[in-house]
C-alpha cells in the first residue's frame, strides 16, 4: 500500500447505500445476487449497506463470495451524505490504494499503531510462517505500542500465504499484516 505524494488519491466515494439506514441482507438475497452476477457481463460486484459489506467476483473457477466486517467502522453518519441513487451499481473499493484482493484470501489487519514483531523474542521462532495452518484466536504476531506487547490473533482459520510486514517495522491502524487463505 503506497500512497504517492505526487498523485492525489481520488476522494473516497460515499458508501452506496439506500438512504433508509442500516439493514440486513439475508442468505436468500445473497444467493440471488450471486446468480445475478453470474448472468450479468460484469466481473466483480461489491455492495455495502449499514455495517455489512460483501464482494462477488467471477474470475475464479466458481463464483466466490467473500464477506468481511466493514473496514470503515462507525459510519452511521454516512447516511447523511447524499447517497448515489442506484444501489446495484458497482462501486470502487473502499480503500483505493489497496490492491485488488485475491479470491479466498483474508487479510489480518493491525488494530493498533506500533512496531510489528513476528516472534515473542529475538531468539524464538516466528509465531506463524507461510504454509502454516492457523486457527481463529491463534497468535500471529506481536505489536509493541507504548512499551506494551500486544498479541495479535488470527480471526479466521486457514493457511498463512504471506507475511506482509517485515519484522521490527512500524505499522499503522488497519494495515494488512498477514494474508490467510481461508479453509
Amino acid at each position: 500500500m503506497s500512497t504517492s505524494r505526487k498523485k492525489p488519491v481520488p476522494a473516497k466515494k460515499p458508501a452506496t447505500s439506500r438512504p433508509a439506514g442500516p439493514q440486513t441482507v439475508g442468505l436468500e438475497e445473497i444467493k440471488a445476487l450471486i446468480a445475478l452476477v453470474g448472468r450479468e457481463p460484469f466481473q466483480e460486484f461489491e455492495f455495502e449497506a449499514g455495517d455489512m459489506r460483501f464482494r462477488i467476483r467471477k474470475d475464479g473457477p466458481a463464483p466466490v463470495v467473500s464477506m468481511q466486517a466493514p473496514v470503515l467502522m462507525g459510519t452511521p453518519a454516512v447516511h447523511h451524505l447524499p447517497a448515489p441513487s442506484m444501489p446495484s451499481m458497482p462501486v470502487a473499493p473502499a480503500a483505493p490504494e489497496v490492491p485488488a484482493d485475491e479470491p479466498g484470501i483474508h487479510y489480518v489487519t493491525s488494530p493498533i499503531v506500533g512496531t510489528f514483531y513476528r516472534a515473542p523474542n529475538p531468539t524464538s521462532a516466528p509465531y506463524a510462517q507461510p504454509g502454516d495452518f492457523v486457527k481463529p484466536g491463534q497468535t500471529l504476531c506481536i505489536i509493541e505500542a507504548m512499551k506494551l506487547m500486544n498479541e495479535i490473533e488470527s480471526d479466521v482459520a486457514g493457511e498463512v500465504v504471506k507475511v506482509l510486514v517485515e519484522n521490527g517495522q512500524p505499522v499503522e491502524y488497519g494495515e494488512r499484516l498477514f494474508a490467510v487463505r481461508i479453509g
Binding site: 500512497t3 476522494a11 467502522m73 453518519a77 505500542a145 512500524p170 499503522e172 488497519g174
Partner: protein
C-alpha cells in the same frame, strides 16, 4: 513495510542560523490547525508527522506532512482522542514533540503526563497548569489571589430577602437573580435598585420552583451589554510573560464565536493597557508558559471580569498574528524547545486592524450542520487576505468532526479597510456542494452596528431575529 509511514520527499535543507527547535514533530490534530502547524514546521525545517482517522485519508494535513500514520476509525474517541494510538504513532516515527492544536487532546492534562512519561515534548504548558486552569473553582481562587477581578456574586445560594439585599449592596446594582437549577431565562430576574429587589427575588424563586422544582437562587452582577475581550499571552520557561494585545470576540452565537477582530473598537489606550496587564498578571500567577488566552467580560462602564483561561493556541490566533507580525505557532515551537521568547513586551506593537470570519459548513440561516462534498472552490486572495483552511476541490467534510471549513482573515491599515477587504473577500469566495455561513458574514459586514463597532455578546440574537423577518418579507414579495 508500510510505505505510508515512510518519509517522502527530500529532507529540507538545514537552517543556517540556529538549528530548528525540533527535528520531527507530530501533529495530534486535523483540519486547518493541523495544516497551520505543518506550515510553521516547514518554515523552521522541522519534519512533520500527521496522524489521521480513516475518514481523513485524503485530507490535506495528511498529504502535506512528511510522514503519516493512520490511528483509527472515524470517531474521534477511537482516533484523535485515542492517547495510546497517538503516542505509539510518535514512537514508531521517532517524533520528539507533539503539537496538540486546539480541541481534541490540547487541554487534556493526562495526555501531557503520558507524553512526559514517554519522553515526548508536549508543545504547550505543563499538566499542572492545565489542571489548575481547567478547574473553574480553582482557577477563580488563583485569579482572586493574584488580584484579577472576578465576576462579583453571592457565595452560593441566597436564602432570604435580607441576605439578597446585603449581597446586592456588596456587588452593586444592577444584579441578576438566577435559579441554581436554571437555564433558558426562566427563574431569572434583573434588579436595578433595592426598592424592587424583594418582589423580584420572590418571583424568581417561585418561577424557579415551577420550572425546575427547586426554588434555590443565587445572585451575580448583571453586565450591561457585555463584550467578550480576550488577551493573547505568551510565556517561556524562564518566567518571561508578555501579552500580544486583545481580541474582540463578541460576535457569537450560543457561545460559539463567529467573528473575531483585533484591536477591539471598545477599548481606549488606557483600558487596553489595564486589561492586558491584568492578563499578564493572571498568567504569571500560575507560572504560565507557551501560548494561552485569558478571556474577560467587559461591561459598558469599562469594568472587566475574568471568565476563563484557554491553555492552548486559539482558533482566532491569526488576527493577532496579522496585527503584531508575530508567528504564534512558530514561537510555541521555540518555547517548547526551551528557548527564550524571541521578543520583549516593548517590541510587541499592534499595527492596523484584522478581522476573522469563521466559515462553517452550516445552513447560514438555520445553523444546521451540512456535511458533504465540495464540488467547486475558490478562495479569495489579493492584498490583506489570509485564508486558513484544509479544504480542497472534491474534499468531503466528514460528519464526525466540527463544521468549520475555513477561516477568512482580512487585514487593513484601519478597521474600515479591513471590513472593505472582508466584504470583497466574501464576494469572491466560492464554496459549492455544501451550505456555508459565508452569506451570514456578508450580511453582518454591511450592518450599521457592526460597522460602528457597537455590539455586545447579545447582538447576534437580535441580528438573527432581524434576518428572519427580512427573509420572511422577501418570501411574501
Amino acid at each position: 513495510m508500510s510505505a505510508a509511514i515512510k518519509r517522502k520527499g527530500t529532507r529540507p535543507a538545514a537552517v543556517p542560523e540556529g538549528a530548528p527547535p525540533f527535528k520531527k514533530v507530530l501533529i495530534a490534530n486535523r483540519g486547518e490547525i493541523a495544516l497551520r502547524v505543518i506550515l510553521a514546521c516547514k518554515e523552521l525545517g522541522i519534519q512533520t508527522v500527521a496522524v489521521y482517522s480513516e475518514a481523513d485519508r485524503n485530507a490535506l494535513h495528511v498529504r502535506f506532512a512528511d510522514e503519516e500514520v493512520c490511528i483509527g476509525p472515524p470517531p474521534s474517541s477511537k482516533s484523535y482522542l485515542n492517547i495510546p494510538q497517538v503516542i505509539a504513532a510518535a514512537e514508531v516515527t521517532g517524533a520528539e514533540a507533539i503539537h496538540p492544536g486546539y480541541g481534541f487532546l490540547s487541554e487534556n492534562a493526562h495526555f501531557v503526563e503520558v507524553c512526559l512519561a514517554c519522553g515526548i515534548n508536549f508543545i504547550g504548558p505543563s499538566a499542572e497548569i492545565i489542571r489548575k486552569m481547567g478547574n473553574k473553582a480553582q482557577a477563580k481562587a488563583t485569579m482572586q489571589a493574584a488580584g484579577v477581578p472576578l465576576m462579583p456574586g453571592s457565595d452560593g445560594v441566597v436564602e432570604t430577602v435580607e441576605e439578597a439585599l446585603v449581597v446586592a449592596e456588596q456587588i452593586g446594582y444592577p444584579v441578576i437573580v438566577k435559579a441554581s437549577a436554571g437555564g433558558g431565562g426562566r427563574g431569572m430576574r434583573i434588579v436595578n435598585s433595592p426598592e424592587e429587589l424583594p418582589d423580584l427575588y420572590h418571583t424568581a424563586r417561585s418561577e424557579a420552583k415551577g420550572a425546575f422544582g427547586d426554588d434555590s437562587v443565587y445572585m451575580e452582577k448583571y453586565l450591561l451589554e457585555p463584550r467578550h475581550i480576550e488577551v493573547q499571552i505568551m510565556g517561556d520557561l524562564f518566567g518571561n510573560v508578555v501579552h500580544l494585545g486583545e481580541r474582540e470576540c463578541s460576535i457569537q452565537r450560543r457561545h460559539q464565536k463567529l467573528i473575531e477582530e483585533s484591536p477591539s473598537a471598545a477599548l481606549d489606550p488606557d483600558l487596553r493597557r489595564r486589561i492586558c496587564e491584568t492578563a499578564v498578571r493572571a498568567a504569571k500567577a500560575v507560572g504560565y508558559y507557551n501560548a494561552g488566552t485569558i478571556e474577560f467580560l467587559l461591561d459598558r462602564r469599562g469594568d472587566f471580569f475574568f471568565m476563563e483561561m484557554n491553555t492552548r493556541v486559539q482558533v482566532e490566533h491569526p488576527v493577532t498574528e496579522l496585527v503584531t507580525g508575530i508567528d504564534i505557532v512558530k514561537e510555541q515551537l521555540h518555547i517548547a524547545a526551551g528557548r527564550k521568547l524571541s521578543f520583549t513586551q516593548e517590541q510587541v506593537v499592534q499595527k492596523g486592524h484584522a478581522i476573522e470570519c469563521r466559515i462553517n459548513a452550516e445552513d447560514p440561516f438555520k445553523f444546521t450542520p451540512c456535511p458533504g462534498r465540495i464540488t467547486a472552490l475558490n478562495f479569495p486572495g489579493g492584498p490583506g487576505i489570509r485564508v486558513d483552511t484544509a479544504m480542497h476541490q472534491d474534499a468531503v467534510i466528514p460528519p464526525h468532526y466540527d463544521s468549520m471549513v475555513a477561516k477568512l482573515i482580512a487585514y487593513g491599515a484601519d478597521r474600515s479597510e479591513a471590513i472593505a477587504r472582508m466584504r470583497r473577500a466574501l464576494d469572491t469566495l466560492v464554496i459549492e456542494g455544501i451550505k456555508t455561513t459565508a452569506p451570514l458574514h456578508r450580511r453582518i459586514m454591511d450592518h450599521p452596528d457592526f460597522i460602528s463597532g457597537a455590539f455586545s455578546t447579545k447582538w447576534m440574537e437580535g441580528f438573527i431575529e432581524e434576518m428572519k423577518q427580512d427573509l420572511a418579507g422577501n418570501e411574501v414579495r
